[in-house]
């Protein structure tokens, strides 16, 4: 089990946590979504909010305590949620949190090359963070983008249809401090067939002649 799934050592844990005023507004809106008496359901979105607010993109134990307090529930119930879901990091990660999918479809499409490229380019192994704190690399199970396999997720963005080359480009762009274009790297727009769309061509601007560009009256 990755060290990100274990609480960070005490010396890394901050001693206090509080939502910023903006996040507090968000938190109140989130809590208000749930019916009276069911406020505890807000645990997950609040944990996410706390993770985004915390430097290092993780949830410190004090933040869990803070949320438990806010929702009037025992802290252990929040710990249970935070440790169950792998999207909550229990220890700090790099600025670019790289999650490479290595589940079967991605693996069949060459995810091993992607992992190797990341390791070589960044000089770190799985579960490690670069010395400058810019990158953390982990392997994950299926992220639900098999049709664009192989793929990886960096922070909130998916990078799909990867090859070793495009992976290197992405990492280079990130190293420069720029943001690479998210989505398929192969020229595909989305998850259409690799040799171009077969249906609804008009809508994707592919200019196919067999379908009118504008729907006629009465059609839709």
């Amino acid at each position: 089990m990755s060290h990100l799934r274990r609480p960070a050592p005490r010396e890394l844990q901050p001693t206090s946590f509080a939502f910023t005023p903006e996040n507090m507004d968000r938190a109140k809106k989130i809590i208000a979504k749930y019916p009276q008496g069911r406020q505890q359901s807000a645990t997950m979105p609040l944990l996410d909010l706390a993770q985004r607010q915390t430097e290092g993109n993780w949830v410190p134990t004090v933040a869990m305590d803070y949320i438990a307090d806010m929702l009037d529930m025992p802290a252990i119930r929040v710990y249970e949620v935070a440790t169950f879901y792998t999207m909550y990091n229990l220890a700090p990660v790099g600025q670019n949190f790289i999650q490479v999918c290595t589940t079967t479809p991605c693996w069949l499409r060459g995810s091993s090359d992607i992992v190797k490229m990341c390791k070589d380019e960044l000089g770190i192994g799985i579960g490690e963070t670069t010395a400058d704190g810019k990158f953390t690399l982990i392997e994950v199970e299926c992220l639900g983008a098999c049709v664009n396999a192989p793929m990886m997720q960096i922070n909130d963005d998916y990078y799909e249809d990867l090859t070793g080359e495009s992976t290197r480009n992405i990492l280079d762009t990130l190293k420069r401090g720029d943001k690479p274009k998210a989505g398929p790297q192969s020229g595909r727009r989305g998850c259409e067939p690799i040799d171009g769309p077969k249906v609804l061509k008009a809508f994707c601007g592919c200019g196919a002649a067999d379908q009118p560009a504008e729907p006629k009256d009465g059609e839709a």
Binding site: M1, P7, P74, A75, I76, Y79, E80, T83, F84, T86
Partner: protein, 686 residues
Amino acid sequence: MPKLTVDGIEVEVEAGATVLQACEEAGKEIPRFCYHERLSIAGNCRMCLVEMERAPKPVASCAMPAADGMVIKTDSDLVKKARNGVMEFLLINHPLDCPICDQGGECDLQDQAMAYGFDSSRYTEKKRAVKDKELGPIVKTIMTRCIHCTRCVRFSEEVAGVGTMGAVYRGEDTEVGPYIEASINSELSGNLIDLCPVGALTSKPYAFTARPWELKKTDSVDVMDAVGSNIRIDTRGSEVLRVLPRLNEDVNEEWISDKTRYAIDGLKRQRLDRPYVRVNGKLVPASWDEAFAAIKAKVAGLDGKKIAALAGDTVDCESMTALKDLMGKLGSSNLDCRQDGSKIGGPRSSYIFNSTIAGIEEADACLIVGANVRAEAPIINSRLRKRWRMTAGDFRLALIGENWDPTFKHDYLGAGPETLTEILEGKNDFAKVLEAASNPMIILGMGALNREDGEAVLATARAIADKYGMVTGEWNGFNVLHTAAARVGGLDLGFVPGEGGLSTTEILDGAAKGDVEVVYLLGADELDTSKLSKAFVVYQGCLGDAGAQVADVVLPGAAYTEKNGTYVNTEGRVQYGWRAVFPVGDAREDWKIVRALSASLGLTLPYDNIEAVRTRMVEINDVFGSVNVPRKAAWGDFGKAGVMKSEGFASPVRNFYMTDPISRASVTMAKCTEAFVKDAAAGKVA
């Protein structure tokens, strides 16, 4: 009421029952790990699988509601195969360390593996290992053995009300325990050990002590508090090794407090195992005859008014009966069983827990005055919590006195008598709650009654009970919560000052002045013994505590595990405790000591066996005739209106873990005090 068929047997169960309960109704045993009658249903161990007609696969019977017309099979090949599969999965990661496991011999997994296990494993992979958790001085953990049934998680959340335990991480990495290291700060934590179906949570003080089949089991009654929890004492040879709860739905259900369970190691230390007589200021060992002779030399010819007797908190009714009769023969009416000087002792309804402990489950509002129920009687606090959970939080609880934590939502009204008066005058918001309640109750603690104005407080409480309809024909919501196991019995026996007799305070003051020359302490240690320095003190008891220190003659008595005795709990329930082992050394059963002393004083008491003493007890008060069934007490007139002081009520129990000589001598209780009592570090423990 749904009717269903279990293995061809038709059964009818209550609406809301589960298939598992229906199967038990039909006499079929269903194996289980996670299911427990007193906890919420988790349905995660899958051991209780049964076959249900028209269901595509086996169903978990504990989580399946029984419905009309269901046809259930519990002994088909499918069921057997399914359970074998579950057992095989459970054993993939369970270590094969039964020979060194304390649960061995009373392990659910071991037992059920006999029926559903296979003789060898098909797995060659490494077993998982889990780091042990540090849960404090009582619960020992070997978490590799955990099968994730989550009984402990549900118990601590639901019954004990402390959110310490949880199931963290996921899948194969799941660990049960606290996420951050934390002890289980609950007075009921020992019950986790009983609940754990495997050897993951075992008893730390009892570790590697004995195997269950070596033990002799004796049913008895606890004396550590006034609840009278039903216990089973496990012994080997002459040693009491452990105390376990015994099922009694009306008293303790199947829980006991940690003090009940673990104070017994105090019985091995500082025991009085032979008589002592003070010679030249030092206690020297003596024979029974010498001890009796010393008492005779002092008492013979002395005016009865100069003799007094005080009974302690854990003594049995038989010895109080004998001592009361002996004092009568000596011409003394200076007796008291209220060491704390509490102002109780009127009609029976004024000093017992009238609504009974089980009756709490019918109450809808409760006012607690001057009692820290969590420290004084954790079992009763767990009932209050149970009621609160049953009503989904509608049960309203309010505190007057200290603001202690009952582990659930409550209102804190105020510290002292002023607030009580406000309630009586209807000026407090909680008065409306009491008015609206159909079964309101009041719990009056010793902290409200052991004061000088105790009688006035009692009168006010009674007026509140009358005003808010707490006492009707059916329901009596007026309750007194005692802290001493012997108190109600003593009051029932009339172990209180007779005509012209002195009360506890008066006896102590008299002794200090020299008016009272002989004081007989029957297991009485919770006194200001410095006042007894002038008097000739006879101490009879089992442990060398405060009383024995000032004694001129020490008579070694038996501990509660070493004698047959009658105890009356705070509800007024008469219960028998049974001897599990023989008294140590020369010690004897307490009533026999008094009987022998009476013979040597030439005032022989008229009973030669315990049955005769018990007959005498029924003669004094016929409540001793109805054992195990609390008798309803008639509502009477009591309390004396008067001025109440303004100071707040303070619970007499400052440290739950140490309240009597036995728990004070206990190593385990000392460790618990260190771990859990905040004031202990500051040296404030009484």
